[in-house]
Symmetry: C2
Subunit: 216 residues, 2 copies
């Protein structure tokens, strides 16, 4: 059975691949699994039918037969558990890859997402510069650790894993910023993720949704 995911009918990032369905698309492309997409308006996301699938009224969701899941990290993990290619076979290496999945979402993403949100919502506030600098200082602490750990390796722990997939999607929100530019090996790591054929297919698929909606 082909799984169905949900995505924004019109993504706020204009098809730049920052919406969280990108994580699922990329994971499914890495493991070679087809999928269908159900597009949702912002209004539909707040309706009972969607809230029954996603208690917080967000995207993406994942439906496969009578299994319904939410949370992009959990869905990527579900895909990675069921198909080879995103988690190592060795039990210890697998546990470490899972640690990087949580690190991406619980340690690195919060300040990176806060910065993106502040740039949209707080730009006109008198505290904006001070707040932005504060957030970037927190982000630098995270990137210090990430850069030191990564060194000149291609990926975070041996072969490419679901941990790298999530980390790259998190770091993409910093692209073009001075703060990412201060860490050339981290910027190169992001570019390495984006160069994967599976990433490119996933990016193209989500961009096509935005392009179609814009020309309709």
């Amino acid at each position: 059975m082909t799984a169905t995911i949900t995505a924004f009918a019109r993504s706020p990032d204009r098809g730049n691949g920052l919406a969280r369905d990108m994580r699922l698309r990329w994971a499914l492309e890495e493991v070679g699994q087809p999928y269908e997409v159900r597009l949702l308006s912002f209004e539909a996301m707040k309706q009972p039918a969607h809230l029954a699938l996603q208690p917080f009224g967000q995207i993406p969701t994942y439906e496969d037969g009578d299994l319904a899941l939410f949370e992009s990290g959990a869905i990527v993990f579900h895909i990675a558990e069921r198909h080879p290619g995103l988690l190592p076979d060795d039990a210890k290496a697998r546990a470490r890859a899972i640690a990087w999945m949580f690190a991406a979402l619980n340690t690195v993403e919060p300040p990176v997402f806060d910065r993106a949100l502040a740039r949209i919502l707080e730009r006109d506030q008198p505290w904006y510069e001070q707040r932005l600098h504060g957030l970037e200082d927190i982000i630098r602490k995270r990137l210090d650790g990430l850069s030191r750990h990564l060194g000149d390796a291609d990926w975070l722990d041996g072969a490419f894993s679901a941990g790298d997939l999530l980390m790259v999607t998190v770091l993409r929100r910093l692209q073009g910023s001075d703060v990412l530019g201060e860490y050339p090996n981290v910027a190169a790591y992001v570019a390495r993720g984006e160069a994967r054929p599976a990433y490119k297919r996933a990016f193209g698929a989500q961009l096509a949704v935005f392009t179609a909606a814009s020309t309709r």
Copy 2:
């Protein structure tokens, strides 16, 4: 072999169970596994020996033989995978419990943690009230979803799971706040978690570390 975790030698929360080693202690108590604790000063956390275990210089870590892990969510998952009691046997129920683990750490924790941080770091700023209200509005959106999903159930999806364990530890940071008080079923859910014997043993163990450090 007994696993070793790391924790603050002197926890900033004064033994109130908000430091993230609490999650590991609680999980290990739930599954009945003994553990040892290595206490770290803030200075020791920034040294190469610890950074090799935890790239971001944080606690907790988990060492079991030659396996070393970081990220509290990943460690709780590792414990839950290896010992019965924290994840359902049924594959679909297990996937949903994992979704709640990610929801706790990636959807609910970020604004809750931001609020706690703002209350410490931004209290004297001219924008403090406005910022606090903004954060509490985001938190209310999360608690709306959580409260609606929970209804009058004891736990998020059937039996108590690692998803509940993480969610309760996240929500405890809101205790005593007006915002949590607006959601009586969520407040009761947190109290239900704290009433578990395994929680009480874990809480007592981490409090004992703080008490011993204070009277030394």
